[in-house]
């Protein structure tokens, strides 16, 4: 499906996208040169968990679910992404397989930044590309801190549950052991 999107609209959109906030319009013009526009149908996978990462993405329009494999369920949606959200950058930074699948919830228009041309910009010491890598690193730090906090909360919750269980179950066990 053809999308009538102008360069002006792409630049205006990226100027309002947090990952690109350190770039001015001229720098955006440089990274837009390697960008592709991709349209995805509802329920279509943008990429699958375990795939090798060949690009990172920005959602221009529509919504997509981040889905993880779950041994106890067919799938588990861990987040829903909307316009201005960036994803897929982890696999580009460390060449690792995708850590989750991303599936279009609605019709989605994506800005796709292929790894190869983006790496070439970095090799050319392109300032805009370096600013984006810095922004990606910052984003990943924020996500890592959030995960650390969630883990800490989960551990504390489990410890509290275990203590509560011990306080409730403990006397019964003691009593039963006495009766034996």
């Amino acid at each position: 499906m053809e999308l009538n999107l102008t360069l002006e609209q792409v630049i205006a959109f990226l100027l309002e996208t947090p990952l690109f906030e350190d770039l001015d319009s001229a720098e955006l013009g440089e990274v837009v040169r390697v960008m592709q526009i991709q349209r995805v149908r509802p329920e279509q996978a943008i990429f699958k968990e375990g795939d090798m990462g060949g690009a990172w993405f920005v959602i221009f329009d529509g919504e997509a679910d981040v889905v993880k494999r779950d041994p106890f369920a067919p799938k588990r949606t861990v987040a829903t992404l909307g316009p201005h959200a960036c994803f897929g950058e982890m696999a580009v930074l460390d060449d690792s397989p995708r850590s989750a699948s991303v599936v279009a919830q609605t019709e989605v228009t994506l800005f796709r930044f292929p790894s190869g041309p983006f790496q070439e910009l970095l090799e050319e010491s392109n300032l805009a590309a370096y600013k984006l890598i810095h922004a990606m690193a910052r984003t990943l730090c924020v996500r890592q801190r959030q995960i650390n906090q969630q883990l800490t909360d989960l551990i504390q919750e489990n410890e509290t549950d275990a203590l509560g269980l011990r306080s409730r179950v403990g006397p019964i066990l003691d009593a039963s052991s006495i009766s034996e």
Binding site: L3, N4, L5, T6, L7, E8, L15, E16, A26, T109
Partner: protein, 204 residues
């Protein structure tokens, strides 16, 4: 208004680089070239820098010259050593700071509930609302429709009230018909990531 812009635009290219963008109908390029020819100019001085926008509209580059806004020409691009693409990107950067809430003034239709927003700034930056559909939707409290019936004139409202929709669509048509520099009688809506035609009042 076109007369002013044409007259001023025919001045020599300058090294000024305060850029803007205006929406224009496709025939503006030929009109400008003809006016330039009448004024004894040709070549890069007679060629506007316009790129396709959507529907039948173009985004044309403007430049500030003192207190006035003029069309930028290919001669300007040569002076600035910019490609058309680079100049339009720079213009988008300057439009990014435009405060839509301040630019688009709230208006009402006498005797009717509801409101619309209107700007008649004529400052070479008409395109700002069209480049910020998300901000425009936030400002209007939902997906709006937009019209650029004449140079400098932008009309925005949130559709849904049939009576208000009709009055405003007819109003857009009247501005277009009476303008010295008409742009488009069509009304556009941001739909699945692009501006599409929402409607147009036609003459009976």
């Amino acid at each position: 208004m076109i007369h002013l812009l044409l007259a001023l635009g025919l001045a020599q290219a300058t090294d000024t680089r305060d850029l803007g963008l205006v929406a224009e109908p496709k025939n503006v390029v030929a009109q400008f070239r003809a006016a330039a020819k009448d004024a004894g100019q040709s070549g890069p001085d007679a060629d506007l820098d316009c790129r396709p926008a959507f529907d039948d509209l173009l985004f044309c580059l403007t430049k500030r010259h003192g207190d006035e806004w003029r069309y930028a020409t290919q001669a300007d691009l040569a002076v600035w050593k910019l490609t058309s693409e680079q100049a339009h990107i720079e213009a988008v950067g300057s439009l990014h700071v435009v405060d839509l809430g301040a630019r688009l003034q709230v208006q009402t239709v006498s005797g009717m509930p509801g409101q619309y927003r209107f700007s008649n700034a004529d400052d070479g930056r008409d395109v700002a609302p069209l480049l910020k559909p998300d901000a425009l939707a936030a400002l209007m409290g939902g997906a709006p429709v937009v019209a650029v019936p004449a140079q400098g004139a932008v009309v925005v409202w949130k559709p849904g009230d049939a009576a208000l929709d009709k009055v405003l669509a007819v109003g857009v048509r009247k501005i277009f018909d009476q303008a010295s520099h008409p742009i488009s009688p069509r009304i556009y809506r941001w739909n699945d990531g692009e501006w599409t035609v929402w409607g147009e009042a036609v003459k009976p």
